[in-house]
Amino acid sequence: MSFLPYGVAAWLLLIGLYGIVTSRNLVHLIVCLTVVQSSTYVLLLAIGYRSGGTAPIFADIPSSRRVVDPIVATLTLTDVVVEATVAALLLALAVQAHRRFGTLDPNEMGALRG
């Protein structure tokens, strides 16, 4: 059972990549990319979790209390922001792609060959 979170992280990575490879719509593809990214959140937070620990915020818990790792939370916070930014840029590119090609289907683009 203790492998479950890591298994879920691996699953999200693979299923998201599957979605990207099979996607017929750029917007769909971009959302699949956020699924891939959510794999890293799950992995990081699962790594930093400590049984019985609470959040490392000492507003109303004694300082001797067992807490979970604060670093992974910091790393994941950064990660969440990165997700939003990359998605925004990609969506802007998708809008332009639709303007150029009249479609969002990667199969019907193809300005670049060889």
């Binding site: 059972m1 699924v35 807490v67 916070l77 303007r99």
Partner: protein
Amino acid sequence: MTAVQAVALVAVALGGTAVVFARDPARQALVSSVFGISLAVLFLAFQAPDVALSQVVVGAVALPAMIMLTLRKIIRREEVDRGER
């Protein structure tokens, strides 16, 4: 692992799968918003309230909003195109 964590993990795995298989982008935006919330619940279960809060505001609000606005922009263009031809 607590029961809450296990349930949230399974929900996240299913949610991610549902997002990938929601092939229509407008529906996918909604599904991904639900997925975003399930991730936030998982983060709470992992004792990361800061991340959960970020995930709610980004994954359940900002990202779906951007997707919907993108689609709107694209659909508007298709309408204009059709009107012209």
